[in-house]
């Protein structure tokens, strides 16, 4: 096998690794930030209801 042919396989292997890891990281980071937002909204709602309950 020539070095050019081997280089194609090497490039393919590194491309697979980098693409999979970057996509996985991006999807997970997006999911975590969405979950953090949801927790924040729910906490605020819980505090609001608690305050309403104490006021009543």
């Amino acid at each position: 096998m020539t070095i050019e042919q081997a280089a194609q396989y090497v490039a393919a292997a590194y491309a697979v690794i980098l693409i999979v890891l970057i996509v996985y990281f991006a999807v997970t980071a997006r999911r975590v930030s969405g979950l953090r937002r949801d927790v924040e909204l729910l906490r605020r709602e819980a505090e609001k209801r608690e305050a309403r309950g104490e006021g009543a």
């Binding site: 096998m1 042919q5 090497v10 697979v16 690794i17 997970t28 979950l35 949801d38």
Partner: protein
């Protein structure tokens, strides 16, 4: 009095600073730096392999560290499984889940890159040889972990079954690791032996730097995924609390 309070505050700041150094964004930064350094060393510092593998051997510098990370991730699931069985703390169940998920992701990457390398070096995408076969078995085993989890509804029972499964499945990890040593007739060469690294110093350095990077990446992903699992639990708890308040 004020001086001691200032010292306490300063110690607390120091501890917080050290914690920040081990948080996911910092770990991702270290991992990125080490992986880029490993890649640069692999292509510009390490020589082309003199064996029949030639230039395709360059795949090793990420392929082996990913395999290592996969086995470490399964090790995390194994330890978390034991800790869960001892304590019944659901946080260990979440950690085990994260370990298996990442172990499987890294295993699939190993299989993918291994197939590419196999085609380049041996002229075949797949061979039923010990290392490949045991790695495939590990992938199938750990895929079964998710099937098991999806079949049990009750939280504590699911966590117990999953923990026992993760502990038993880990038996395949040392078998996979040592497969090439127990059965050396396979295609996979045994490169590193006790007392002999089997490669030039520059190659070993590139491999070790990439290994460090991949381990740090795994740690960062574990932290990120674990945070996601805890947030999901918090959302479930808050929803329950809000529902109860609404009744």
């Amino acid at each position: 009095m004020e001086a001691s309070e200032a010292r306490i505050a300063s110690a607390a700041d120091g501890a917080a600073g050290r914690r920040r150094l081990l948080e996911a964004p910092a770990l991702f930064a270290y991992a990125g730096a080490a992986l880029v350094a490993g890649l640069l060393l692999a292509f510009w510092y390490s020589p082309v392999d003199a064996s029949s593998m030639g230039f395709s051997q360059k795949i090793l510098y990420y392929h082996a560290p990913i395999a290592w990370a996969a086995l470490v991730a399964f090790g995390v699931a194994f330890v978390a499984g034991i800790l869960y069985l001892r304590s019944s703390d659901l946080r260990y169940d979440r950690l085990g889940l994260v370990g298996v998920r990442l172990g499987l992701l890294f295993s699939l990457l190993v299989m993918g890159t291994g197939m590419i390398w196999g085609q380049a070096a041996w002229g075949t995408w797949w061979a039923w040889e010990p290392r490949l076969t045991t790695f495939l078995i590990a992938c199938l085993l750990y895929a079964g972990y998710f099937v098991l989890r999806s079949m049990v509804d009750e939280e504590a029972r699911r966590a117990t079954y999953a923990a026992v499964f993760a502990v038993i499945a880990f038996v395949d990890v040392p078998i996979t690791f040592f497969a090439t040593r127990f059965l050396p007739e396979g295609l996979h060469p045994v490169v590193i032996r006790p007392g002999d690294t089997g490669m030039e110093g520059s190659m070993l350095l590139s491999l070790l730097v990439s290994m460090l990077g991949m381990t740090l990446l795994l740690a960062a992903l574990v932290r990120l995924e674990y945070a996601a699992e805890l947030l999901k639990d918090e959302i479930a708890d808050l929803k329950t609390a809000l529902w109860e308040v609404g009744q």
